[in-house]
Symmetry: D2
Subunit: 344 residues, 4 copies
């Protein structure tokens, strides 16, 4: 079985995770180069310019972990160079830019996978498989709790596209993934309670988002940018045959009982620890699909659809009313394109 040759653009926190997984944990892959002008450590492969990397004759696939505003350009270059792409979310903050590059990707015939890593988390995978095996029966309601331990910096917030596009987008994707059907309408309420930087960035940090699927079933997501007790990532599914939920992962299982109460560990602190496994499996699935020439588990359209939900949530907040995905899609994507791409 052949090895896929890859290059990694961007060696920040997530880039390093992917690089280490590709190098040490995943079979049938070889990292030929990295590209990050600010990364000076020697990791055993050449650190070259992003253009050189994308044009590298032996590299078949490119892992894009650079800042968001470079994603679309790199995807575009990869499409032109005939290189498959794994791209960290979000694809881009502009719908038009996403649509353009999706078209380029489609025209070029390369494969594109968006990094919605949480789909590969063992907890959420278990829920998904319970749904698929019919253990929940007809599913009526999905509940997602997703809270970060602390808000990002003001600088980050300003270029993030807002909480829905930056953070909740994972939950919007999860809402599609678990239920296996499309969201039709969105209503959101939100506030900015946790920090001055959030207010200064004119962003929100706390929200409850209600989703109606096209068949009338429902999901509800609650977010906070600041859960003082750590990274809170839970999910519950309810239907005619049962209910299932997954709790947070913890660093250990201890409970201490003393005169003041029973005390246990807090959740694993943030995505690096919490989603270690899902980052690894996600990359494994990407490589496996390339090796076997199979469709990738997450597509660029998945990224676009999560984005539509986020935009609907933003509009819902702005106008305090439920907003349909169709409305967003027709406005942002165009009616024709909507039918072609979104409403398959």
């Amino acid at each position: 079985m052949k090895n896929i040759k890859v290059g990694v653009i961007g060696m920040g926190r997530i880039g390093k995770i992917h690089f280490d997984n590709l190098k040490n944990q995943i079979e049938h892959v070889e990292v030929l180069a990295i590209s990050d002008p600010f990364f000076t450590k020697n990791v055993g492969v050449p650190n070259i310019s992003s253009e050189e990397l994308i044009q590298h004759k032996d590299i078949e696939a490119v892992i894009i972990c650079s800042p968001t505003d470079t994603h679309a350009d790199y995807i575009s270059l990869c499409a032109k160079a005939g290189k498959h792409v794994f791209c960290e979310k979000p694809h881009d903050l502009s719908v038009n830019r996403v649509l353009e590059t999706l078209q380029e990707v489609r025209d070029s015939g390369v494969k594109l996978m968006l990094g919605f890593n949480r789909r590969f988390d063992p907890n959420f995978q278990k829920i998904r498989s319970l749904v698929q095996q019919g253990e929940i029966g007809d599913v009526h309601l999905l509940k997602i709790t997703s809270r970060d331990p602390a808000p990002p910096s003001l600088e980050y917030l300003k270029s993030s596209g807002g909480m829905f596009l930056d953070m909740t987008i994972h939950d919007f994707d999860m809402a599609r993934f678990i239920m296996g059907k499309e969201v039709g309408e969105v209503y959101a309420v939100a506030g900015a309670f946790t920090s001055e930087s959030v207010q200064e960035a004119n962003d929100i940090d706390t929200a409850v988002i209600t989703l109606k699927y096209e068949d009338g079933t429902m999901a509800v997501i609650d977010n906070s940018r600041k859960a003082i007790y750590g990274y809170d990532q839970r999910l519950e599914i309810f239907g005619s045959k049962g209910m299932a939920k997954v709790d947070n992962n913890k660093p250990d299982t201890h409970v201490l009982y003393n005169e003041y109460g029973a005390h246990g560990a807090l959740p694993l602190n943030f995505f690096m620890e919490r989603y270690t496994m899902s980052y690894k499996v996600e990359m494994q699935k990407f490589i496996e699909a390339l090796v076997d020439d199979q469709p990738l588990p997450i597509s660029g359209i998945d990224g676009l659809k999560a984005m539509m939900i986020a935009l609907a949530a933003q509009l819902s907040i702005a106008e305090n009313r439920p907003v349909t995905i169709k409305e967003i899609s027709e406005e942002k994507v165009g009616r024709e394109y909507t039918e072609q791409i979104i409403v398959k």
Copy 2:
């Protein structure tokens, strides 16, 4: 310390619970009579007509557990007769009728307590006290899960006033009780998924209701009329200093580990088992307040306010938009009265 003399009208399921508690579990009270033409068992006190009971010269307080459509009339008679009232929820399905009897109660000087028994449940009491002690900090979000094990009969459904007024009203009251502040706006999505009788009654059985409090903080309630695994009554509170949640009560704590998995008990089946303690404490508090001539822990206004939220939720479903309590109140109660009674 003197004993309060009471009579119980209605000896159905809840009437019997209250009667037994009053007779065996609660101090400083004496049951002088019951009234229920369909109840034939001898429980050691005379079973007389409701009018006789209300007019009984020694009876100081009346416990109303008869069908909903009799509540307002009995309250009215009690007010006229100068008898304190404990009345099972709901007060009445008509806002006007509620307002009328509240006025009569107010004019007569008797005390009226609505039976929102869940306020006295040890789990919810604990959450309330954590909030009051500041353990949650500034509270940003309340989440209530409230699911019944099975939908009521078609007959019941038809006279129930709909799920929001019949079932969710407990959760609306809880949303006020836990947060200690008033709801300003309501948005609800709902469906009828669980049974034909619900559809036939033109009712709903599954809902997600988002509440915005007047200060911008939020609550979200999710309901189902049919949780196949039993009576699901959970609650979570989230704020700047922490998060707390309470889980269901179970008949035992066993977990069985065998080759198929780890298996534990289901929640206590329904309100009779689940809220045994809260029914008892509720009645205890009613009697204690009468003995000490103190204000009752739940007032008729509390009943009215929960009803307003339910009406807002109904309208939200009907028109698929967020609805303010003010709007409901001004329409249903009248602007003047709203200011006088609701917006204190």
Copy 3:
């Protein structure tokens, strides 16, 4: 269906529990009298001398809740008077005295039940039924954790017969009840770590007791007189088909997550709260058996057998060796009697 008429001797903590249950919670029974010279409250029935109570012509059964050193005498008087007996454990601290009164009970034909109330606890009942239904398969090991929140007074300790006869005796009975077979050999290690009064009473307060059943399977009990976090009553069963365990009961189900950890409630504090249900069911089963003229669920022989195990544990500590029940029985009960009574 007829009512059983009973009297209660001893209105201390446990006497009052039984009295309240008999009066308010249990059907087919009537309390005609109590007897306790130090109990002055009016509970609606006459407080008469123990002799009068036992001789009372209408009383059919006597509930003995007086101090331990009076139990055997009262049982003896009841046997002579033809009254059935419910007696709190222990029967007596002297094996001879137990044997004598058991003989009297047997000769008189009255029924005697020992108050091993924990057999009726929902948690332990669940484990027992899992064993009986074969869910555990061949049972290999039983583990019991039984810890009190605080050691009793020096005065109590001095007349208690020692920890094994006073406290662990419940666990010895549980070891027979859950497994449904007889203990053959005992080995115990122990220490006095928790208080000076335990040391002054020449008693122990911490122990691990290993039991070998006659078929070679095993149980292990661990005790402490002082668990600072409350009353710790857990049990685990292990066998060829699975393992099951029960945890402590708690006053509420809350968990609070803050920056310091996850915090929950401590176990219910002591036997009054923890075994509320088992006290009630125990008495219910006693009355039901009398009404139906059926055998009582716990016999005097059960009390004797638990006592034998306690004596074996005491000897094991004294001589630091495993001690067989046969050895204890032959020495204390006599070989002939052992075969007749103990080894059925």
Copy 4:
């Protein structure tokens, strides 16, 4: 900071774990060679004979993962060659052989670490740190549950030295590690319930072992070779200030509630999954200690002491009596040597 150069002897299940960790997960180390005649996969380093590996001029430390009966010889060769040693447990099944090689190790000045990997498990580390921080107060009792999912093959059993030396030895080491003090006396009961091969091997598969520490405090271990629900690795510590326990690790946190009950995942199946982290940290600590020229966290004496406890447990079973470590030590090690080495 320099890199330690190592070689790995034995590439069976555990050898491969260590190799992968050394190669991919641990810093400051380089694997120069492996040695396993039955291992044919190319892992990027030469596969040479064990003698060549031990004599390899650049190799500073040897990781011994070969069959038990080769351990002592390889340790001996390493000592002569001046190579540090990490050796999987057990050192050897003969006390004399252990003593000989320990002397050689001591004389040569090389460092020897025994692979009691569980000391590095996050759960047990947490308990250890709670004890050390005084959160438990004076510790009175340690409880260890250690059950394998299935008994090994008859062939393995025959050369294993018996359950106590093969399996429980980890628990005996844990009993010393957690409590930080020495065991004085052992009493064990056991049976062979789970398989014919265990009986044929004249071994046991189920046991309860009581340990008395030299200061009178206690530990109790329960073992089974066959827990049908998986690998059961729990621990509880009890003392004057509190109790703490750790539960099993699970592959996910899901609970499914349906009409039959609440169902969750079983423990991680066996040591490969359960102790992934501890294998990694163990090797990390070994390498770090060599890099910094610090004492190793586990010594050869630790191996010997756990072995003494196992031998005492064996004798306890054989003679059905408590056995002191001193007795074992004087008989097996010699009085003089005991004082010199064991009783420091």
